[in-house]
Amino acid sequence: MTLDDARDDFESGLKPLWLLAQAGDETAYREALRRIAVRLRSYLRRRMQSLPDDLEDLVQETLLALHLQRGTHDPALPVSNWVLAIARHKLVDLWRRRGRQEALHDPLDELEDHAMPVAVEEGSARRDLGQLLQELPEAQRRAIVLTKIEGLSVAEAAQRTGASESAIKVQVHRGLKRLAAKVKEESP
């Protein structure tokens, strides 16, 4: 199988799930994000030979960005191009944060210099998002915990807290945005 075939397979498997997810199907969204995480890990691993410890952190940072920006995907365009454009953006941003020296390295040259692939345990991040979640303002943290961890509907969460449904939605979105900002502050 050539690289292009693999890419097409990824896209053709992901696209229908993604369109369901965009329409609000939670199960399809979870499965789409799982597939995207696997793809991100292999995409970023090849380009982060010099920063292996940051790999899973960047996978998580990119997933968070994809979620916050999912309204910017144009259904007429391939999902994988959109995903990888955001991953590349996050990678370049990480290099910039780590200083110019790193940014000047051609990632593909790196690949030849360190022929030994770095083994990274799947899903092990250095930074703990659960910990960062605790640092959010109370209303945002509570809205996220109720709807996105305990799985209450927005209406139930509104009832539980006494806030309006639109307020809950706003708190969740703001909280996740703040979480994404904190992620950047935490890895200078």
Partner: protein, 211 residues
């Protein structure tokens, strides 16, 4: 937190993706920027006499600025979406500028050789680009706010496109207060003001649009 738990958290109660994000951000940005630009031009410099609108001059300016603003708006909306193709809107914006340049050059050829320099400079060449740039600032702020709510991955280009959009809206506003009638004046000095706004945007883009 494991990546698997993060995925569960993101998917849980996620609901449908927000729709038409670019339109929802760019519409108020451009409408507000245009309103402030027009108010600035009319309040600060004052409107041109109504009889000037009998001449094609003001209409050429409004047409040029309006078409360029439309192309730039399309361009900015594309640049706010990762991996969206931008060649077509970029060409459209370029074509509008080239068309204005050709119109200005053709009009200049009809002027006797000795008067061409005076025609291009008009009586307000020094004020025009500065005024266009100043009147573009509200739209520039709005377009950057809009882009910050989207996901630009080419920050300098996105800043430049936002600047061109703002410059074109500023030029549209200034056209209501500018009594120069020669197309060659518009082709040079309006374009200079729009270009200055574009450069300002390109300069600010990498700083203000990071996410």
């Amino acid at each position: 937190m494991k990546t698997e738990s993060l995925i569960d958290m993101l998917a849980c109660q996620a609901g449908p993706a927000p729709r038409a994000m670019a339109a929802r951000r760019l519409t108020p940005a451009v409408a507000g920027g245009l309103a402030l630009g027009v108010a600035g031009a009319l309040g600060w410099i004052g409107p041109i006499p109504a009889e000037l609108y009998a001449d094609p001059g003001p209409w050429i300016k409004l047409g040029y600025a309006g078409l360029l603003a439309a192309a730039a708006l399309w361009w900015v909306a594309r640049l706010g979406r990762p991996a969206a193709p931008v060649a077509a809107p970029m060409r459209a914006a370029g074509a509008v500028v080239v068309a204005m340049g050709l119109l200005g050059a053709a009009a200049l050829l009809a002027v006797p050789g000795g008067e061409r320099m005076d025609t291009v400079l008009g009586h307000s060449w020094a004020e025009c680009p500065v005024s266009v740039l100043l009147l573009s600032l509200p739209t520039l702020a709005g377009a950057f706010w809009a882009l910050r709510g989207l996901a630009p991955t080419r920050l300098r280009l996105a800043g430049f496109a936002a600047g061109v959009l703002a410059g074109a809206v500023g030029a549209f506003s200034y056209a209501l207060s500018c009594d120069e009638l020669a197309p060659s004046f518009v082709a040079v000095w309006y374009t200079a003001g729009i270009g200055a706004a574009g450069l300002l945007g390109a300069l600010l883009g990498p700083r203000l649009l990071r996410w």
